[in-house]
Point group: C3
Chain length 376, copies 3
């Protein structure tokens, strides 16, 4: 393991991650990636520790990834299935978390459909003065930090396998395509990509871009809708109102965080919004596609899957606009033929989707290791 | 581990527990409590053994507690989830148990909504002459021995952390408040508390006190309902008809066990029933609250949660009646503001609720150890 | 472990199993059976490997058996529960399998209600050039190889515990009774029993025998229905159209595989069909009963369970027709009093049902060992 000064007790959001922290995660994950290629893929690092997967919102994929990561570190794992839980008996979420704390849990991996739940649990643990760590495995439309970190690791190890680090993305153009508005994956990725110095281009139909900003566009600058609108880089204090650790159960306001208005431009813009796919793809180094929830259509935010695919689905011809060695990412599970054409998804020349899953185990081992190694 | 002569093969009920057995569990749990404070919280005691959690009635909390206890002892665990089981395919419960036996299970931890199921399975295992142990994790309205033992351990370690033992409770006044009638937790606790020499005061609305006794009161001694009625200590043979290990699937009669009538008074009474909370709380050392099933209201056994809380909910002002250093217990999950006020629940000066959960792991390790150590 | 030349990468079907392969499984299972009788029932063979139980169709019994087998070999296990999986999110089965591959799964144990799914996944893994193994844990009405292998192991160890091998069944008469038409267990057993040189007699009501053959009988040779009809031994190419590993998701044709017509008799017939139970039982050495799905009745394939039991249920009196030391098997879970009388099921003189479950763990350890030992 690389020597490092990691002082973070929880991983709830990437909003305040420092470059040193990103690099520590990347380097630690790289060393675990090496472990995973060995004959015996296990290390005794977290032996005797308990990792509880508290998935109030079910997810086989992410839960399995965390479970396998924990087992590779020799931790014991507990799975909490919301469906059969005492939640149905009226217990509060904080009480459930405190019960797992009292049972001796060392790290809680928490997924919940409400934004801010992991923050609230972490705040309560800190208030109690206990050493348990909380790892956000996706909370509502807020953040999904381990997903963004594995995306980052996937890209950086592609560029420099021997030494993945944040600065490798400086100046790269990354397109994020799809349901930005409702995506915790996009929100976490925006933090890490902005921090890396990349140029981040968000492309989506107006109904799937952050609400207040798109309203602004439609009312104020209607006919500029064809253009790319450069906006300021996000700053933690004004853009994504991360719930304070004092408040009991803070939520992201409905409709997503409020984007800054162009009236207050900031120098060195790195974040761009597009109502069309093409300007985002133009000369892009990486294309991150987002999963489309089919429920969006019943909410009349989308015409049809076919039309969505035609306009925003990633296909081989559309990739012609990008850099020649462009790569495509997707957090999974993929709706084949919707966010991305089926043949492209299976083409290892372009698709990083399988690498992302493999990176996921290494990155989650790294996070569990960094959070847990000080405890045992 | 303390040297001990533990000869019990199953833990089904506390009705016939001896003082020596209680003390063995308490001392063994104390030594595991010490293990849990170490850097590496695992011992290899049950390595290679299989603990199967057969939860025909789902319970995340108790199942997780047993699972973590088994893993701390290095046992392998199997979880049986009733919902997805072959039970839906028409197999009998005994056949399911025999299947897990044939797979090599060493200890079966069984929860079922019918009273007597663990007894019936244990009887079948004994009939087959096999060495598998059965641990009752809650059966209908019969018993929940590990819960009562962890309550006992919580209280005893509070009084004398270095040497928890049954006699510490001698002469203490313990109030058990709530849905006594339907509570397996109350039934198991009554056995252990009576055995300890404590004075046990049960307080509940008449509809939630054991049926036949309350009927007797209303008909025969109606106007004494305001008083505390001392009744005889329970004796295993007459009070709680524990299913004999010969009968196939014996059940507690509907309406709960029959209490002895005051016509046959017995000397040295330790058990008292109250239709009001106050006489039970008066000078109490410990207050055990019970979970209120909201279904009781639809069955017209309760007026409203608000009225229940007003009359029987434990609050800071009501605790003034108790001894100054009174402590409150609850088996969880708690309906905040119903059985106990929310602020009191979170007040470590009064609430032992978190300690109970922690004690649960140590006590279950002790039980698994005592049942399993002779096998491997 | 016996030295062996095992070259099989997946276990999908017994159709092309060689005698050497059967014997390797039997001998390996025998050595694990010996491990299971030791004080410590674990071996470190698969330490660091991941066995993923991908049960798209739920099964507590088979999943637990594989899970315990994997844990006895010190593998880490992942359980995939179809109900809470991303399958509901629209991901394809192959994508799910590839996700588990990318997470580092070494062996996938797959159950699915559609025939051919494990084959399709194995074909995809081979196409990708990866070393993951696929083990069919039951696919539709196609095959259930580990069940047939444990049946074989149960019978062979009964005959010669020290040296179980395929040839022990040569010339034995085995009756398979019940819903042959819809049974993957019967299909896999037919392959192994034919390979052993046994005489296999299938008995069922005409509606539960393979469709095309029974239609042929009813039309062409109606009044011969009382007789036993010798048909040719099954040959892999014509009888059971095993899905080729090239085709994407091949299925057994609806109504089951087509049996050869008696017009094309083949010498040395080993397979016999009966519309009545008695000729199948006559002098039988072993009787394999099959589970009856109660749904068959709503499909009007059966009159009533009572009538089925009267005609095809195995009872003590009916066993008089068999060899004196006849034994009865059932894959479980049993509908007591339907496929087999309740008292017979519990009689260790006749019933091998518990032995089958125990054999299941040893045989599954053997399969996981044979598939996994070359990987780590």
């Amino acid at each position: 393991m690389p020597t490092t000064t990691w002082n973070r007790h929880h991983v709830l959001s990437l909003a305040d991650f420092t470059t040193a922290e990103y690099d520590t995660v990347l380097q630690t994950a790289a060393s675990f990636q090496e472990v995973l290629s060995r004959r015996t893929k296990k290390v005794p690092t977290l032996q005797g520790q308990v990792v509880a997967n508290l998935f109030f919102e079910s997810s086989t994929r992410t839960r399995s990834s965390f479970e396998i990561a924990a087992k590779r570190l020799s931790a014991d794992t507990l799975n909490f299935a919301a469906a059969t839980s005492s939640m149905t008996k009226g217990e509060t979420i904080l009480d459930t978390a405190k019960t797992y704390l009292a049972m001796g849990t060392d790290i809680m991996v928490i997924r919940h459909r409400e934004a801010g739940v992991p923050n609230a649990i972490a705040a309560e643990m800190d208030r109690l003065g206990v050493r348990v760590s909380v790892l956000n495995a996706g909370d509502g439309q807020h953040e999904h930090p381990s997903q963004a970190l594995l995306d980052l690791f996937t890209i950086c190890t592609l560029i420099d396998p021997a030494n993945p680090r944040l600065e490798l993305l400086k100046g790269k153009k990354i397109a994020i395509v799809g349901d930005i508005l409702h995506s915790r994956v996009a929100r976490s990725n925006i933090w890490s990509l902005i921090a890396s110095g990349a140029q981040v281009h968000l492309a989506a139909p107006p109904t799937l871009l952050p609400k207040l900003f798109s309203e602004f566009i439609s009312e104020e600058i209607g006919d500029r809708s064809q253009e790319s609108l450069a906006i300021s880089p996000l700053s933690p204090s004004t853009q994504f109102p991360v719930p304070s650790s004092q408040s009991p159960l803070p939520l992201i306001p409905k409709g997503g965080p409020e984007f800054p208005s162009p009236q207050s431009p900031i120098p060195s813009p790195q974040l761009f919004l597009h109502w069309q796919l093409e300007p985002a793809l133009q000369d892009a180094d990486f294309v991150m596609t987002l999963r489309l929830q089919k429920e969006r259509m019943t909410a009349h935010l989308l015409p049809s899957l076919r039309e969505y695919h035609q306009l925003f689905g990633i296909t081989r011809p559309k990739l012609q606009l990008c850099k020649p060695n462009v790569k495509v990412l997707h957090p999974g599970p993929v709706n084949r033929g919707v966010e991305i054409s089926s043949d492209l998804m299976d083409d290892p020349e372009f698709s990083l989707i399988q690498s992302q899953v493999t990176s996921g185990v290494a990155v989650r081992m790294a996070l569990l290791y960094l959070l847990g190694s000080g405890k045992a």
